[in-house]
């Protein structure tokens, strides 16, 4: 079975802060990332997606 289905959820939230707040309210451990767009915008993000790792 896919492992997450029988484990308590532990979440990293990247994006809307409200989702992290709702998870916290529901008692789910969550770390919220203070995300911001990479300097250089979408083109740089596409490049990073290829180069990353």
């Amino acid at each position: 079975m896919v492992a997450v289905l029988d484990q308590p959820l532990r979440v990293v939230n990247v994006g809307l802060e409200l989702f992290a707040a709702e998870l916290t309210r529901a008692g789910v451990p969550v770390v919220h990332v203070d995300w911001r767009p990479p300097a250089g915008g979408p083109d740089v993000a596409a490049l990073l997606a290829r180069l990353d790792d």
């Binding site: 896919v2 997450v4 532990r10 979440v11 994006g15 992290a20 990332v33 993000a45």
Partner: protein, 503 residues
């Protein structure tokens, strides 16, 4: 009218936070209009259209935050702008723990939580792939709420997820439930024995809410994104989710929710369903399954919930147009007494799948007299939050329908749950009230019909939301399918024998 603006360089806040900042500014004395947005080219156009462009805003870049206010007086505009710093701080739902900065990257977040098992991603679509790749490469499950992700990127992400043995729920996944935890727009439902695989967020919300009303609960609701059953994506996440639920001891029955699978995906889907030793109900809206297709195929979201619950309880069940015929007759008499102006039905929806379901029901009943609009579609959400979060976009369209006389019947959905608007019925009811008055003044009625997707556990208070709509003269039916059929009945009395049975 005086306009004041401030630009914060290299300062990012998400669209929901910015919507709340703009709301807080609009609520200040003397303020007429306010905007808080990033300086993208599209947003510069919005600023200009709202009369909020100023010298200060001209050279704001996409990475800069723009806040602009127009007010009755210069003093009121200055005072509002002077409050920006405080409002920006107040409107942040997540503050860092004392003495600890919020992490800026996934890797620094993972140092704080090394045993994290899922990454929820809701960044703007053009950045979603990068964040999702980072999570999947680290072997973490992904809930990908972001939309506007190119199809090729979706294929690449899901291929990687399969390699890693983790879920990539989405892109464009509005709702999911993992181990009892709701992600995204999620209704509060009890845990239970029904597992869902959903290519539709609002479809999943409608099914789990009805399941909860029938006294059952949800084990997991794996969202797969709206395109998973397309030929290009090939149903890879649906197949993986079905296999996972098949072996999950908490799941006793499974519901599949979505649009019809592409012909090339049908054999794979049927084979996956056929391998499961548990009851499977399939609701692929608009599908015409072969008689030999495994699983129990149903036509509406409401039927999906009812058929699954009946199957679990080994109870007899058949689909029927309305759950309470006597109640429908009372409502019908009230609606017809208003004399709707014309046979046209206008559907203004926040849930795309609900709009699609209504269209499928109405087309054979009233043909081209019905027009269904999904206000959550990309063309309406560019540069602003989804209408389930920001009800003002639909409110404007509802009022316009009252003035324009384009329809005699207005059909709407109202979706509750965590992370959606805290009180969506109030702005909708106000708009319907205005629209009905405008229609009445022009000499004809606008009959308003709604259904509400929600549970008794939802933060908005399901009962109060329904009461608020009814107080504005809205007929609230128990499901979207029933609301659509009721709309047809209002305009076509000749459908009564078919939909209500013999008098």
């Amino acid at each position: 009218m005086p306009v004041r603006a401030v630009v914060r360089r290299s300062y990012y806040r998400d669209s929901m936070v910015l919507m709340r900042v703009a709301e807080a500014l609009r609520a200040r004395p003397g303020v007429r209009e306010a905007a808080a947005l990033m300086g993208t080219p599209a947003n510069h156009e919005l600023l200009a259209a709202a009369g909020l462009a100023a010298d200060e805003t001209k050279d704001a870049a996409p990475g800069d935050l723009v806040i602009a206010v127009s007010a009755d007086t210069t003093a009121a505009a200055d005072a509002a702008v002077g409050e920006v710093e405080r409002i920006l701080t107040e409107q942040r739902p997540m503050a860092a723990a004392p003495g600890r900065a919020l992490p800026r990257t996934l890797d620094s977040a993972l140092r704080q939580m090394p045993d994290a098992n899922l990454v929820a991603i809701s960044v703007p679509g053009e950045y979603a792939k990068l964040e999702a790749l980072r999570a999947l490469r680290r072997g973490l499950h992904v809930f990908l709420f972001s939309d506007n992700v190119p199809l090729d990127d979706e294929i690449e992400l899901k291929r990687l997820a399969v390699d890693k043995g983790v879920f990539c729920m989405g892109p464009d996944c509005g709702t999911a439930y993992v181990n009892g935890v709701g992600l995204g727009f999620a209704n509060v439902v009890p845990r239970g024995r029904i597992g869902c695989v959903a290519a539709s967020g609002t479809g999943l919300q409608a099914v789990v809410s009805r399941v909860a009303a029938l006294g059952e609960g949800i084990s997991h609701g794996i969202g797969v994104g709206g395109r998973d059953l397309s030929a290009e994506v090939g149903g890879v996440m649906t197949e993986m989710a079905l296999e996972a639920l098949a072996t999950d001891p908490a799941t006793e029955a499974i519901v599949v929710i979505g649009k019809p699978p592409a012909p090339s995906v049908v054999p794979k889907l049927e084979a996956a369903i056929g391998r499961i030793g548990k009851p499977v109900v399939v609701c692929c809206l608009g599908a015409r399954p072969a008689a030999s297709a495994p699983g129990r195929w149903v036509a509406t979201l409401e039927e999906a919930a009812e058929a699954t619950v009946a199957t679990l309880r080994a109870a007899a069940w058949t689909a029927r147009p309305f759950t309470d015929v006597a109640d429908v007759k009372t409502r019908l008499a009230r609606a017809r007494a208003q004399t709707p102006r014309g046979p046209a039905i206008l559907g203004l929806y926040t849930g795309g799948t609900l709009a699609h379901e209504a269209a499928l029901i109405l087309e054979p009943l009233v043909g081209k007299a019905a027009r269904l609009v999904d206000l959550g579609d990309d063309e309406f959400t560019r540069g602003r939050p989804h209408p389930m979060i920001d009800p003002e976009a639909r409110a404007g369209r509802v009022r316009e329908a009252g003035r324009s006389g384009e329809a005699g019947v207005l059909l709407v959905d109202l979706v509750l749950g965590r992370a959606v608007h805290p009180d969506p019925a109030t702005p909708l009811a106000a708009a319907v009230y205005d629209a009905r008055r405008a229609a009445g003044a022009a000499g004809g009625a606008l009959v308003a019909i709604a259904s509400v997707v929600g549970t008794d556990g939802d933060p908005q208070d399901l009962r109060r939301q329904i009461t608020t709509l009814e107080a504005a003269g809205v007929e609230v039916l128990p499901s979207n399918a029933q609301a659509a059929r009721f709309a047809a009945l209002v305009t076509r009395p000749d459908l009564e024998p078919m939909l209500l049975g013999a008098p």
